[in-house]
């Protein structure tokens, strides 16, 4: 039996009268890539914000690596890395300066931060652009820097909130290969995306959220089996079947 690295129990979060997250429970095993899918407004980002200690839940509990997010947020932050959906970079600084700064924030000493920054830039294929200002980077390069920053401090758990939005297939493939490589080294990943084929390719298990609740949680194969032969239906078919076809925005 694999070790449960993330355990979420009966999580609730409301903003005034709106229940953004309503009784969410799931667990993520160590070394697993766990997909969290859902239409816009389903509660994915709010869930990630609570897991990453930015938002405090109204009720429920989250344990990451044995640490309670409510009671030991500092210990949780020491073992997580977050790659937010929006690019969260200082565009006036160079890629290297961004990496070193966030590395220092992740608890690294200056020398360690500089070494790790170069290593992660090489991992993302951006070592030649280390000194370049981020403002002059292409969208794909910025996405890769956004991900590389999340790896500073060598986290045990990585939150990837739609990390491949708006980039070309080459950059996307580069990011996939990196994520899979990191998984092989034992990294646990919580992955959200609107691209079903990404989730199908990367995730060991997938939870589908809608209306602030988890409405399905299984492997891609088992989810597909619920509506037909797995080799004939796509994850998108499952998603639309479960969440409906009505527009959400």
């Amino acid at each position: 039996m694999a070790e449960e690295f993330v355990v979420v129990k009966d999580l609730h979060k409301s903003f005034k009268d709106f229940k953004a997250v309503n009784g969410v429970s799931f667990s993520i095993y160590k070394g697993e890539i766990f997909g969290l899918l859902g239409p816009n407004g389903a509660g994915k980002t709010t869930t990630i914000r609570m897991l990453s200690t930015v938002l405090e839940p109204d009720s429920g509990d989250i344990t990451i690596g044995g640490h309670s997010v409510r009671r030991e947020p500092a210990a949780v932050r020491a073992i997580i890395g977050v790659c937010p959906q929006e690019l969260a970079l200082y565009e006036d600084l160079s890629a290297f300066e961004n990496m070193v700064f966030f590395g220092r924030m992740a608890g690294l000493e200056n020398r360690q931060a500089r070494e790790q920054a170069m290593k992660n830039l090489e991992l993302m294929g951006l070592e030649d652009r280390a000194k370049g200002k981020v403002a002059k980077f292409s969208g794909g390069m910025k996405r890769r820097i956004n991900l590389a920053i999340a790896l500073m401090g060598s986290p045990d758990l990585l939150f990837l909130d739609e990390p491949t939005v708006g980039i070309d297939p080459q950059s996307r493939n580069h990011i996939f290969e990196n994520i899979q490589g990191l998984q092989k080294k034992g990294l646990t990943v919580l992955y959200t995306t609107h691209y079903m084929e990404e989730a199908d390719r990367l995730c060991n298990r997938i939870a589908i959220m809608d209306g602030g609740q988890i409405i399905a949680n299984d492997t891609s194969h088992n989810l597909k089996s619920q509506i037909g032969p797995p080799d004939r239906v796509s994850l998108e078919d499952v998603f639309l079947k479960l969440t409906g076809r009505s527009l959400r925005d």
Binding site: F15, R49, V54, A74, A88, L89, F102, R104, M105, G107
Partner: protein
């Protein structure tokens, strides 16, 4: 604490990268200083170039040119005769002083010499002022020659040599120049000599407040970009983040003020070394208070535009009530209203030190008010500051 200082360093680095912000916070105050300097500094406002053709090349021509060159605001341009006429023909110059050949020889011989003004039309306003100045200098030289020649004439046959006479007369003329028998005293009315001390403290405090409250926009921008939220998923605590931003705001405001005050020190000679340090201390404490107010704006504003508007209105309100652009009579309604502006306390404290020869002991009350505003402002801003809605 280390991470808070890293936040401060990063903030300063970003500030230095933003050329527009730098220009706004550093150059604009300097330009304002320059305007005030030009208007009220007491230096001559007349600056002109005297174009001269020296056809004489003698000792007295050189003496005349030297005296003109020594007058504040006048610079000398030597031209050849043809060049001068060409420039006059093309209206490039409106007035040229010609020192004709034989000028020095005539004076040396005790005869009469003449200077010529070549001018286009009436010589222009600048030319007319210049010609008056040149006439004054020439008149002075002429009188000196007259006195010297009369003394020589009177002492003829007494055995006193000409060089002794020249030296003695020159000595008396120099003494007369320094302490003339008929002097002119300039008395500036309307308190103009205090204009610099009246306005400069206000301008320093206004720009500090403006820069700091505009700094609030940068924090809102960081929130919008998502970097604030990202930082809060690292080991950085919200308290460290907040403290780092606060120190950065103080550093930014203080560095700006340091530059402005150093300029005032160098240009206006407003300070002694002691009053300079005392004024810097006042500004440091004031900056800490203003930074806390800037953080309240950062905490309240939800957009960069909102932060800019709040900052602008807030700063203008504080500046007007603070008596920045006009003296406020104690006891007036405006004075009482001005008590809610921290600028009024900063301006008064600085004026007390700069203009009235006061010491830090005389400005304890304003300093205490700044400390209080800073502490309360910090607490309020920390209580309402959130990186994400509903979050920490």
């Amino acid at each position: 604490m280390k991470r808070a200082l890293l936040i401060t360093l990063n903030e300063v680095k970003l500030y230095l990268q933003d050329k527009g912000d730098l220009a706004f916070t550093l150059l604009l105050p300097i330009v304002t200083f320059a305007l005030i300097y030009g208007a009220f500094s007491g230096q001559t406002l007349f600056k002109a170039t005297a174009s001269i053709v020296d056809e004489d090349h003698g000792i007295y021509a050189a003496q005349l040119i030297g005296q003109l060159d020594g007058i504040d605001g006048i610079s000398i341009e030597m031209l050849a005769p043809d060049e001068a006429r060409a420039k006059l023909d093309s209206s490039d110059r409106l007035l040229v002083l010609d020192i004709p050949a034989g000028f020095s020889a005539a004076l040396e011989a005790g005869g009469r010499a003449q200077l010529n003004f070549w001018q286009r039309g009436n010589g222009g306003l600048e030319g007319q002022i210049l010609s008056s100045i040149i006439r004054g200098v020439a008149d002075g030289m002429g009188k000196a020659f007259l006195i010297t020649s009369q003394v020589k004439e009177n002492l003829q046959g007494t055995g006193v040599t000409e060089s002794q006479i020249d030296a003695a007369v020159q000595k008396y003329l120099d003494a007369e120049r320094l302490t003339p028998a008929l002097g002119v005293k300039e008395e500036v009315v309307g308190g103009a000599t205090d204009l610099v001390t009246q306005y400069l403290p206000g301008i320093v405090t206004m720009y500090v407040l403006f820069a700091l409250t505009m700094g609030a926009r940068a924090i809102v921008e960081e929130r919008r970009k998502g970097t604030l939220e990202r930082l809060l998923t690292t080991r950085l605590t919200a308290g460290e983040l907040f403290f780092g931003k606060y120190i950065a705001a103080i550093a930014r405001g203080f560095v700006q003020t340091l530059i402005l005050m150093a300029l005032a020190y160098a240009v206006f000679r407003m300070f002694t070394p002691v009053t300079f340090l005392e004024s810097l201390f006042i500004v440091l404490v004031y900056t800490a208070a203003a930074s806390a107010l800037g953080l309240i704006i950062a905490s309240v504003a939800r957009s960069e535009a909102g932060a800019s508007w709040i900052s602008t209105v807030f700063t203008m309100f504080m500046v007007m009530l603070g008596g920045t652009f006009f003296a406020v009579a104690p006891g007036s309604v405006f004075y009482i209203l001005g008590r809610i502006s921290i600028n009024s306390y900063a301006n008064e404290a600085l004026r007390k030190i700069i203009a009235e020869g006061g010491s830090l002991g005389d400005v304890i009350v304003p300093l205490a008010i700044f400390v209080g505003v800073g502490a309360v402002g910090l607490i309020i801003s920390r209580l309402i500051f959130t990186a994400v809605p509903g979050g920490k």
